[in-house]
Amino acid sequence: MTETPCEHCERMMQPYMDRVLSAQELAEAEAHLSECNWCAKRYRFEEKLRQYVRIAVEEPMPAELKAKLASLRTPL
């Protein structure tokens, strides 16, 4: 079963974002994205999502933990 151009574009999204597509594949993806707003929106969403995930998982280290780690040091 052959895929549609949009299905193909969907499969290319991660390697596209990771910048690991070949020059040829990249050119094909950009050509499709310039014509297909449906895919372009989804690619833009992916970019936003990646940025958001990085921020969302931020959590400062508990202060007591740092002290506990320091106490593991070998005494001189």
């Binding site: 299905e7 969907e10 499969r11 999204m13 991660q14 390697p15 690991v20 929106k41 989804r42 833009r44 969403f45 992916e46 936003k48 999502l49 990646r50 958001y52 995930v53 990085r54 969302a56 998982v57 931020e58 959590e59 400062p60 280290m61 508990p62 933990l65 740092k66 506990k68 780690l69 320091a70 593991l72 040091r73 070998t74 001189l76």
Partner: protein
């Protein structure tokens, strides 16, 4: 006498090297915690893991080659300890695939919003808790890679070295893992159950 001078110097040098090592390692604690927090499922587990990691690191400091990537070395200890701890919260293997296509999450969120929406607004439907919770539901083999690469900012090669797997496996687990995560997010954020 030359021998005892030599010994004294060696002992002093080693003590100095160890102090520097410990300081360098402690300076990385926030970064190690940040990754450990999501290798495990909770703050408590992450704290335990980080403490065990540093205890092990300080004991085996001589096996670290100065000038190489200390952060990767520490995370290697952490991931191995995490594996040894038995990964109690494993999902049982499913007969159905864990992931959907890469557009699945957007499609679901857009549907829940009742139609086309700006991408920024669609992302905002996901809370911080949604993301942390969805990530902890991703099976560990996939989660380890996502956490090291997407949160820890390790290169594929560093992640491959830390996990002791081929770089091709890093890439395929990363891509599948992200799709699994997005499927989890789709379920969490839209309140859907399977």
């Amino acid at each position: 006498m030359p021998d005892s001078d030599g010994n004294a110097l060696r002992i002093a040098t080693e003590a100095r090297d160890r102090v520097h090592f410990e300081e360098d390692a402690l300076a990385l604690a926030d970064q190690v915690y940040r990754v450990a927090r999501h290798l495990t499922g909770s703050r408590e587990e992450a704290e335990d893991l980080v403490q065990e990691t540093y205890a092990r690191a300080f004991r085996s400091w001589r096996s670290f080659t100065p000038g190489t990537n200390l952060r990767a070395w520490l995370l290697r200890i952490a991931t191995n300890l995490n594996i040894d701890r038995g990964r109690r919260k494993q999902r049982t293997p499913d007969t159905q695939p864990l992931e959907e296509g890469d557009y699945f999450l957007y499609n679901k969120l857009e549907e829940a919003d009742g139609g086309a929406a700006e991408e920024e607004r669609v992302v905002e439907r996901l809370s911080q808790d949604d993301i942390v919770s969805a990530l902890s539901a991703v099976p560990h083999d996939f989660r380890d890679v996502i956490v090291l690469v997407d949160i820890g900012d390790f290169s594929y090669q560093d992640a491959a070295n830390i996990l002791d797997i081929p770089i091709g496996t890093v890439m395929s687990r990363l891509h599948r893992g992200r799709r699994i995560l997005k499927r989890e997010l789709a379920e969490t954020a839209t309140g859907a159950t399977e």
